[in-house]
Amino acid sequence: MFDNTCEFIDYCIKNNKSVGLVSLEKEMSKNNLSKEVIFDNLKSVLKVMKESSHEGLDKDMSSMGGLIGTEAKLLEEYRKTQKSLSGDFILSAAAKALSTSQVNACMGRIVAAPTAGAAGIMPAMIFSIREKYDLTEEQILYGMLASGSIGKIIATKASISGAEGGCQAECGSAAAMAAGALVDMLGGSPDQVFHAASFALINIMGLICDPVAGLVEYPCNIRNASGVYNAYLSADMALAGIKSPIPFDQVVESMNQVGNLMHTSLKETALGGLATTEAGIKIKKDLGIK
């Protein structure tokens, strides 16, 4: 429907429509679906996101590889009982991100958004902003649609796979989607939506994917937690009027280039980074993974 993001933004501005609304129209025309069907599907997605982002907040879990499982509860208890450094709101979001990552690593149900490894960021954003701003479900659904458009652009022009682009392609994409959705839900302009998405990608451009023992556990979980921080900061900067001098499409192209230049050992193969530290190798060996 649009060749590039500039056209997308122009169309939104000319027709006085939000990125979320135009995303809905595109989705309806793509598969000849009604708004009701799309919203019903989004609600199913939202339900799973709600469960996964809350399940780990008050219980100890144990992941398949045993590397993670209690982090969400620890952070949530710390947030509630102590004067934290980064503040109550942002920590509540981070705890929710950790929760979904844990649920994923424990073979629970999650929504790949855009991937399983980065599944914590979108739900953490949605259910923290919802508590803070008392947003309607419809506002949330339009924000999700906007995030979908951002993810589609990245998936098309670059990659959302850690094996192809490193963690920047997974947690970076998720943070960009969440940042853009935040701006859209809070009534920011279409260009602000994409400035926010650009900031989020730029903030972690070059981030490698180096899963310890090859498992989707650590450091995936803490990168989901920092991913939701990244989304909030990026959205705030865009809403404050800060602009990215590099347009979103070019940021994505650059991220793709960085992903291509990244050595294979740093792209989900567990042959570099944290995976090949002394401790990382020991963990792998102790788990009996070859």
């Binding site: 793509k30 424990c106 790949a112 399983a116 090859g214």
Partner: protein
């Protein structure tokens, strides 16, 4: 270039931890079960490459077994598939094996039937939960199951393809792709179509005496 939809990005809903090693593995199991289409008493999974190396940490084994029992990638019972299989009296075994295939995430699913015959399917998990079925009982095939797929084995004689395409045409079914492989006087046909397959359509195709096997495979959601 693939045109993504919103739910390719916000989805799928799946049991973790990995779209390739868990959801994709489950789809291979499910697809194998549908292709085989009969009750079985025992199933052996031969795990190749990365599937062999990181199976336990990704629940690949549990996902495969859940698949052959018909549990979908988003079914929360997936982690307890070992217990479910034991309850159902299904024997299962996982064997690390170099299958000599290129894709690192590959499994061979070998069913042992009541009459002691063996039926096997080989599939690879190629990323994002997508799979490719590459071999059925020694016949090389290639299909993803992302589209409704009709799988047919027939005696390699004249008129079978004409019969099938006539039935599809009358039913107003549009063929997306079609491929035929011949081996030992048997032709294996993979037909991908644009609309969902119902039993009625399969029965109509199956009226030809030259057809020795047929299965209709709709996409595995979740």
């Amino acid at each position: 270039m693939k045109e993504y939809g919103i739910f390719d990005i916000l989805g799928p809903i799946m049991v973790g931890p990995s779209s390739s090693h868990t959801a994709g593995a489950n789809r291979i199991g499910n697809m194998s079960r549908i292709i085989m289409g009969r009750p079985f008493k025992k199933v052996k999974f031969y795990l190749h490459g990365s599937f062999a190396k990181t199976s336990v940490g990704h629940g690949t084994d549990k996902a495969l077994l859940a698949g052959v029992m018909g549990l979908r990638p988003d079914d929360e019972r997936l982690p307890s598939s070992f217990e479910l299989a034991k309850k159902a009296g299904i024997q299962f075994e996982f064997i690390e094996k170099d299958l000599g295939y290129q894709h690192p995430n590959t499994a061979k699913v070998e069913f042992h039937l009541e009459d002691n015959t063996i039926f096997y399917v080989i599939g690879s998990s190629v990323g994002g939960g997508n799979i490719l079925i590459t071999n059925i009982n020694g016949t090389e095939v290639e299909f993803s199951g992302n589209n409704p797929t009709i799988l047919i084995r027939n005696k390699d004689t004249k008129g079978v393809i004409a019969h099938i395409s006539t039935v599809l045409s009358i039913a107003e079914v549009n063929i997306a792709t079609m491929s035929v492989v011949r081996k030992d006087n048997i032709a294996t046909m993979v037909i991908e179509i644009d609309s969902y397959i119902d039993e009625n359509l399969i029965e109509k195709i199956n009226t030809s005496e030259d057809i020795v096997y047929i299965a209709g495979i709709n996409p595995i959601e979740g």
